[in-house]
């Protein structure tokens, strides 16, 4: 299935684009999305501890949560608003 992935700030820079489409098997999880991102650029691995992932605008705390076609997954490095 096609999963829409948004990437911001330094994660965006490492992935080369702020909006990507990942092709993942049915039943893929949040953890699989992250792994697919790291497969695109291994340098992302160093950001694993500090990156949060949101699914349809809400933070996901369980990397085993599955994703569905049409989900919008966002990769969020440490924030710096204000």
């Amino acid at each position: 299935m096609q999963i829409r992935v948004l990437a911001f700030a330094r994660v965006r820079e490492l992935l080369g684009d702020g909006e990507l489409t990942f092709d993942l098997p049915e039943g893929a999880t949040i953890g699989d999305v992250w792994q697919a991102a790291v497969d695109r650029n291994g340098a992302l691995g160093a950001l694993a501890e500090s990156t949060r992932i949101a699914r349809n605008g809400r933070i996901v705390n369980d990397s085993l949560e599955s994703v569905r076609e049409k989900d919008e997954i966002a990769l969020l490095p440490p924030v710096g608003g204000g």
Partner: protein, 145 residues
Amino acid sequence: MFAIVRERIDLERISEATRNASCGAVTAFAGIVRAQADDGRPVIGLSYEAYDLMAIRTFEEIADEARATFGPCEISIVHRVGDLDVGEIAVAVVVASAHRAAAFDACEYAIDAVKARAPIWKRERYADGEEFWKDNACGQGTPAP
């Protein structure tokens, strides 16, 4: 009013949009682009980006929390994105309430929460041409993988 904007922020306009006839007190916070980084390095500007949909939802949650804690009030949170110059307003929080103590508390709560967890990113641009992402915090939640 909860918004991510690309244009200049005007405190008076946000204040007018926030307050109503039952509000005797308006408090506001504006975060301004400073000419120096925390380490004293000269800054020529900041560039912000946001995950708009989630940022606005986060602003709404923060406003709900502030009202639950400090009592009824009207709250606006507006953050600007794009390239900002020194002296420009990056973020504004405006609270309108019947009385002022709650308005101050809610305003301070909201800006602290915006900085800690709204999905917004800031790049500091220095006078010598270098640029770095400048973090406040890791946001809410647990690590990704």
